[in-house]
Amino acid sequence: MAAGGGIDPIHQFEIHPIVGLRPFGLDLSFTNSSLLMVLIVGVVSLVMIYGSSQRAVVPGRLQSLAEIAYEFVASTVTGVMGKDGMRFFPFVFSLFMFVLTANLLGMVPSSFTVTSHIIVTAAFAFLVIGVVLVYGIVKHGSHFFGLFVPSGVPGWLLPFMVLIEAVSFVSRPISLSLRLFGNMLAGHIALKVFGGFVVALTTGAGVLGYVIAPLPLLLAIALTALEFLVAFLQAYVFAILTCVYLNDALHPGH
């Protein structure tokens, strides 16, 4: 699928092995995706460990970055789940920081966006729903399934409501993973397509091409700014929806 000037917008999402590793016919190669994931964990760990090691009263740059991140996620968690939701804080904070750093490192030119692969985001989403199910059933037992039975509904409507609630619960991991994956994929494709327009106009359209080429270039710059916003916003949305779903496990029943 060539967009413009023979530039393939999907090419940037290709996974290629750096260190080939195939024991017993299993493909366990260390790929560019794995490299970025290791890098993300390294960056997050470094910022948080070094940022919290100083403990100055007047925080330096790195310490205030770590403090802002902590305060932001903590206020989101307590805002949605209340005070006792803080037991899930390490989980939500790790998810938020990983997704945010993955999105931001993906914005570095010619690097790789880990979250633009559905297998990564689906793994996160199923982890979240797994935690919700296991914690909800262990903590509340059969009372957890009261989640599917809304109160104050007339009897004849109840079977339909239960069906709708069940479908909405099952579709949660799908929508949670597809939202992050779709946003990152669409943004990077759009950037590449507009970059391809510039190349196609300057190489193949004569003088008129040079006149028009700055327009897609300006749009590509504006889209890059928008992509940084989306990178942060999707990490926030992922974290807050995780909180909403965990809240169901913490306080089931309507």
Partner: protein, 75 residues
């Protein structure tokens, strides 16, 4: 109809859904903003809820986008 042409037509039709989801997201933020301008002190507390609603509405547009991508690159 030529199957390749039908594929591209289908991808284009799926993109209509993205525009409809945009109407939904715009309606959520428009209403949030008009409410926030009437009572600015209560706006900060409802910030997260506005984003939850926008994320849910946007998710349906993303489904359309994925359908278009599947038609273009997978099928």
């Amino acid at each position: 109809m030529d199957p390749v042409a039908a594929k591209y037509l289908g991808a284009g039709l799926a993109c209509l859904g993205m525009g409809l989801a945009a109407i939904g997201v715009g309606s959520i933020f428009g209403n949030f903003l008009s409410g926030a301008l009437r009572n600015p002190s209560a706006a900060d507390g409802q910030f997260g809820r506005a984003f939850i609603g926008a994320a849910l509405a946007e998710g349906l547009g993303i489904f359309c986008f994925v359908v278009a991508l599947v038609l273009m690159f997978v099928l």
